[in-house]
Each structure stands twice: as structure tokens, then as C-alpha cells.
Symmetry: C2
Subunit: 417 residues, 2 copies
């Protein structure tokens, strides 16, 4: 959150601007940023001519949200700073990343999607072909199935921020062509029931998808928040499976093979399958169950004084609309319905808010989401009873926060959930 000093910026661009040397659009863009930073320390901005128009807006110098990550790595992830965001939209450059062999750089002019297997007419589609079809846009979340792992732990570290728990979650307005439209073109055979989705990255990410989902609301998406999908989210095109785990929504999609059985790829046998408490495992656990997290107050917030505070957070379900979010400030003894911010959309994040009068004592804050199927977000012990030691996926237990008497807030998994 550092600020550029006035002197630095004056040296860097002030002279050029004053001298009228900045003529091109690129120069104007640089000048805009320079002038804006230069003027940050002005006591009265009404006495100073402001920055000119520019071809691309900049963030304010003191507002520089960043994806959160450890050491950059190609088989890694970066997380959305969900506690820094308002509403439900995630700016595209803050959308979480998860990739298994880095972000490929695909030439859109060479891009092709092959659809073959149990079809009458195997076809390839260029990016222009995909854009020629009738389009759909929808607001929905994309979430890594490993999101929430930090919450599945009776002794989770107290110093955990919302991004560390649920930052593998982002919401965008996606645009593309319904997969059902493309499947009509190739004419799927009777008897087909699955398809293999394969990515064009160096991991050749591969997942088996039931044909039923492909014919429902699946999409080949090429747009994200109005513009072209970003490279880290699958440019030039990805599979979008609203409400399902992120890894199945294969990015950089290059091939769909229609079949009558799942392909049992590495990513659904060695990974993305969930061992259960009874020694069996559940496979193809695609849907993201209802979940919610309070993003304020949360670690590392410190409430400076007692009184009215708005508890806020996000709720979402892969099965449809969120119908209710309940908030407890006493560790689950009593619950009150939170206000849901409109629009409440199917398979999309919903912002919830609950006004709370903090008396200055210790408090244990919780939220639980309920979706249109009646599913209720479970507590930790319920999920441990069902899952046992667990795997690394699909942890949607209640995320509690302890507010201490001095106002400090800590993650409190296991303290009473």
C-alpha cells in the first residue's frame, strides 16, 4: 500500500509533462498515472488542474489489491483477496489462479476446439467459429475444489485470513456459447453419456464430464467481465460448468471426446476423489456444496471500539440459489437471518450483511448458508463424522471467527462449531 513520493514522480515524469513532450496515447497513459501520483499530496485538489483523460484507467496509488500467493511456481495457485472486495464481482486481474503446468500462451489465430468420438460429424471450431454462434452471458462463481481446506482442521492456526481459507473463489460475468449448441452441430450418438474434456496446457488437464451437465448449462466461455477471457483463466476459451468444481471446468479447452463411460484420467483417480470415513471413496464429486464465510470482521481485523458493526461475507452454492444465510454471534447458540444483497443468482456468490452491536466482550461469529435445495452448511464435527481424515477437497464447514475483548479477531475452527 506504499505511496510514491512526490519527488520521485516529479523527477520521473513531471518535467516531460510540463514540457509538452508526451504526445502519443501510451505517453498520455503514463502521464496520467504520473500526474495522479504527483498530486496525491496536494492539500486542496480544487486548486490544481487534474489529470487528463487516458486510454486505460489506473487504480488509486494507495489502492493496490493483489492476488495472494507464496513463491511463484508453475504448479501452483494464487488467491483472490476476498476480504478486500465488496459486492460479488471479482476484477479479472484478481481472479484466483490454479494450474498444473503454468499458464500457456495460446495463439488465438491457431486455436481450435475438436469435438469427436461418439458423434455423427466430428468437427473443429476456431475461435471465430465459436463466436459466430448465439452467445450467453451469466454471472457465476468458479471455485477450486480444494478451497476451504484450512477450515477442515480442529486445530487450525488462529492467524488465518479469509483469503487463506476461501481465496480460491472468484465471481465473473462469463460469456460464451452453450455446449449444447455445439453438440447439436456434431450430432451426439444415442448411447453417449460422458465426454472427456482436455486442456491445451502443458499438463494436458483432462476430466470426464457427464453428458447431462454438458447438455444443461455448460458453456465454452471466451469472455470474462465483458472482455476476452484472461490467459490465467483459460484464454482463448475454457469449459465453464456453473456450480461445479473448478478443475473440471477445463481451461484452454482444446478437445472434447464423446464417450459412453468416464475416461478415468489421472486427475479423477489419483486426485479429485474423496476418501470417506467408512473406507470407501466418492468419485466424481463435482458439485460445490453450499458454503459461506464472514469476510468482515475476520483475521487480521481489530475492532477499535464496541458498538454497531456490519458483519458481511459471501455465500454460494453449486446447486442453485442461496435462500438464506444465518449469522450467530454467540458460537452457534442463537442464529439470526442475514440480509441477502440482490441480485441473488443461481450458482453465483451472494453478499450477505448483518448488523451487530458488539458489547465489547468475547464473541464467536459464524455464518451458515442454506440453498434452494434445503441443504444447510454443516459444522466441522458433522463433516468429520462423514469424511474421516478426509482428502483435500470439498470442505464447506462453518468458518467461525473469535472476537477477543481487545477487538482482535482470529480464525476459530474447532472452538464450538
Amino acid at each position: 500500500m506504499g505511496k510514491i513520493s512526490r519527488r520521485t514522480m516529479l523527477g520521473a515524469t513531471g518535467g516531460l509533462i510540463a514540457g509538452g513532450l508526451l504526445k502519443t496515447r501510451a505517453d498520455a497513459l503514463a502521464a496520467e498515472e504520473g500526474v495522479a501520483r504527483l498530486q496525491t499530496t496536494q492539500a486542496d485538489p480544487t486548486k490544481v488542474l487534474g489529470a487528463p483523460t487516458s486510454v486505460l484507467g489506473q487504480r488509486a496509488p494507495g489502492e493496490q489489491p493483489r492476488r495472494q500467493m507464496g513463491t511463484p511456481a508453475t504448479t501452483a495457485s494464487s488467491r483472490t483477496p476476498i476480504e478486500q472486495l465488496q459486492g460479488i464481482i471479482t476484477p479479472a486481474d484478481l481472479h484466483f489462479e490454479r494450474h498444473h503446468a503454468g499458464v500457456p500462451a495460446i495463439d488465438p489465430d491457431r486455436y481450435e476446439l475438436l469435438i469427436h468420438g461418439m458423434v455423427d460429424r466430428p468437427m473443429t471450431f476456431t475461435l471465430d467459429d465459436l463466436k459466430r454462434f448465439p452467445a450467453e452471458s451469466r454471472l457465476c462463481f468458479v471455485e477450486c475444489s480444494g478451497n476451504g481446506g484450512a477450515a477442515y482442521n480442529r486445530n487450525a492456526a488462529r492467524e488465518r485470513a479469509p483469503w487463506q481459507i476461501d481465496g480460491l473463489l472468484s465471481t465473473s460475468e462469463w460469456t460464451g456459447v452453450l455446449l449444447s449448441t455445439l453438440l447439436r452441430e456434431v450430432r451426439v450418438d444415442r448411447g453417449a453419456s460422458w465426454l472427456l474434456a482436455e486442456g491445451g496446457d502443458a499438463a494436458v488437464m483432462s476430466r470426464s464430464i457427464p453428458l447431462e451437465k454438458a447438455l444443461d448449462d455448460a458453456m465454452i466461455a471466451y469472455g470474462q467481465n465483458g472482455e476476452a477471457i484472461r490467459p490465467a483463466q483459460g484464454y482463448p476459451a475454457r469449459l465453464l460448468l456453473p456450480g461445479w468444481e473448478g478443475n473440471a471446468q477445463v481451461k484452454w479447452i482444446r478437445r472434447l471426446e464423446i464417450s459412453d463411460r468416464p475416461s478415468m484420467t489421472r486427475e479423477e483417480t489419483s486426485k479429485y476423489t474423496d476418501p470417506l470415513a467408512d473406507g470407501t471413496a466418492r468419485q466424481f464429486s463435482f458439485v460445490m456444496d453450499a458454503k459461506s464465510i464472514i469476510t468482515f470482521p475476520a483475521f487480521p481485523n481489530v475492532l477499535p471500539e464496541r458498538g454497531w458493526w456490519e458483519i458481511t461475507g459471501l455465500a454460494w452454492s453449486g446447486r442453485g440459489r442461496i435462500t438464506r444465510v444465518e449469522v450467530s454471534t454467540d458460537g452457534g447458540r442463537t442464529w439470526a437471518p442475514a440480509q441477502l444483497q440482490e441480485p441473488v443468482l443461481s450458482k453465483c456468490t451472494t453478499r450477505f450483511r448483518h448488523i451487530w452491536n458488539w458489547d465489547g466482550g468475547e464473541a464467536l461469529l459464524m455464518s451458515r448458508a442454506i440453498d434452494e435445495t434445503g441443504y444447510v452448511q454443516p459444522d466441522l464435527e458433522t463433516q468429520i463424522a462423514a469424511r474421516g481424515a478426509g482428502s483435500s477437497y470439498h470442505y464447506n464447514t462453518i468458518r467461525p471467527w473469535r472476537v477477543e475483548a481487545d477487538g482482535r479477531v482470529f480464525f476459530a475452527q474447532g472452538e464450538g462449531a
Copy 2:
């Protein structure tokens, strides 16, 4: 849309990356962009390790949308390239700009909003104060009242793109505190009916706003698409008046003076008032009437072949929800209802789509929006009859496009609307 050559990028960053010299997050960010560009020309991205995670996503090298403008100037505007966008969301860095003395650089730590005048308790609010109140988020458009001026002309130039006609229009998810909440704090006197809204820019932009709107859905917004509002859109806080003309939604808001009459500021006497055909003028024409524009096909598109094309565009109304958009491909002789993309939200843009089988002959494309009040977007002659020579504001006539037999598309105002 130019691409960076492989050779250029190899020289610039390839050696550094290979040498493992990039260690910091900033370096990683630069490296990510460098690697991504470097690999654009790879024939098979599955054979090359992709770019690492990064703290801030980048656009693909070939996808570089830009705001459109003439010579940079401080009393000017830049326009959203609406024909390059899908869905309804405008990325924040592509939100149109309109300012009268440049973009001020306001220190958020010094920021204060004063509310005074006909109130019991004059108060100032810091940015933290504003954020302490219960928040609201809403998706809505902001539009300059001068948008569409190019359409109010029987002899408009044929070579006009959608951004030149309606690019002073953008849609965001705004977050802030309802103005009614703040007005409860200061306790507005009985008899008050207007307020003066004053900006902290060098133009000290000032407008009179009816108290009724302030108590309805007006907001002091500090968030835009999830993050802090951008400087060009009013950082750290602006007045948001959903559905009303942009200039009244005073950016960089610093003062609200409650009164029992309009203040008759320069911006509502010498400007932003509309002379009519009968010699009178209408003042305080705040609401943006229902409007629509086809963004594809439009100038400078060229349809390469006859056959099925999806006509698409945006419709919006400051009075509420769009209930219907009708499309004509024969210059208004026949109309068909377009498909409205969900969600259809009040005072927000709505994406419409209409599938069209082009027979290869000349065609005159039109769209007309109808909102929940029953208002129908008028044609040019109807508006000229009401407005006469007109002013510079509130032109919401039908925007027609001529498709020629060779596939070229031109703006066709006056050709039959």
C-alpha cells in the same frame, strides 16, 4: 491489437528469466507477462511449461481494449468501447470518463464529506466513517447525458462506430452507503426539499438534487466492481444516482448542502438544460430515458457471408427495468422481440440478442427498447418534433445500421427511422 514479436521479448526478458534473476513479486509479475508474450508463437503450448502464478493478471497480448478518445485534454471525455464488450459489466479501467477540470488526486486519509444546511446536526464523514455504515451494492449503468448526440442528426456521418454514438455509458457493481442513511444521522429539517452536491475537483462540479431522490436510492459510493472506486470515477467517493444523468452523480463528492430550493448552479443553467421546439426549455431533466443500440453488426463490421448472424446490443432505462427490446431488419416495417439476457435489473444495462438470417441483400437494422413504465424508445423525427434544434443532451432515438450487399455496415441515422 498489435502483437509483440518473439524476438523483442526474448531480448527484453528472456535472458533474465532463464537466468533465474527474477525474485520479487514485481519481477514475477513482469516475468509472467514476458513469458506469456514469449510463448505466443509456440506451435504447441502443451510442450512448453507455462507462465507462473502472478499477483495481478494480465490481458492476452492480442486483446488490448482501450478507451476511445481524441487528443488527451483535461476538460474532456474518453469512451467505453462498447462494441468490443460482451455481457453487461464494464471493466473498471474501461469505464468512460467525463470531467470538467481533470481527474483530481485526493488523499483518502484527508478526505471528508460535509453534510450541512437545513439539518439538526451538521457532520463531516471520513472515508472510514462512510465504510462503517451498513453498505449496499448494486449493478447499474452510469451514462453521460450527452451520450447519443451523434444519433440526433438527419445527416449523421455514416462512418460512426457504437463507441462514437453511445460510448459514454458503462455498467459497474457499485458499493457504498445509502444517502438516506447519512441523512438520518444529520436529521434533515422539515421543509427541506433539495440538496446541493459539490465535487472536490478543480471544477468544483456542483448540481442540485431533489431530496426525494436522495432519500430513495441515492448512494455515496466508494466501491466499483468489488474494489475501491477508480480515480477517474470519483475516488475516494462519489454520488451515485441510479438511472440519472452522469453529471448529476457528482464525483469526488465533498459537500452536500440541504436546502429548500435548487441552487441554480452554472452546470444546470448554462449547461445540462434542454431547449425545446416550442421555445421553452426543460430544466432538471435528470432521468435517462429508455434507449438501446445494436453493437453488432455495426460500423466498421463487414459481414463476410450471408447466413445466420446474431444481432446483439445493449438496452437500458433510468426509469427501471427493460421489459422488451424489439429488433427490425427491414427499416422498421416489421419488428420482432429480441431475447433479453438474464439478469434483467432495474436501471442497469440489459444485453439483448436476436438471431438473423441475412439473405445477402441490403438491410436496415434497428432496435427499440421498452421499459417497465411502458415508455418506447422514439424515432428521430418524433424527437426532432418535440425538441427542435435540440441541445446536447438526452438523445435516445433509435440508432439504425445499414447493411450493404457487400456486407459493409454503416450508421444510418435518418434513413428511415
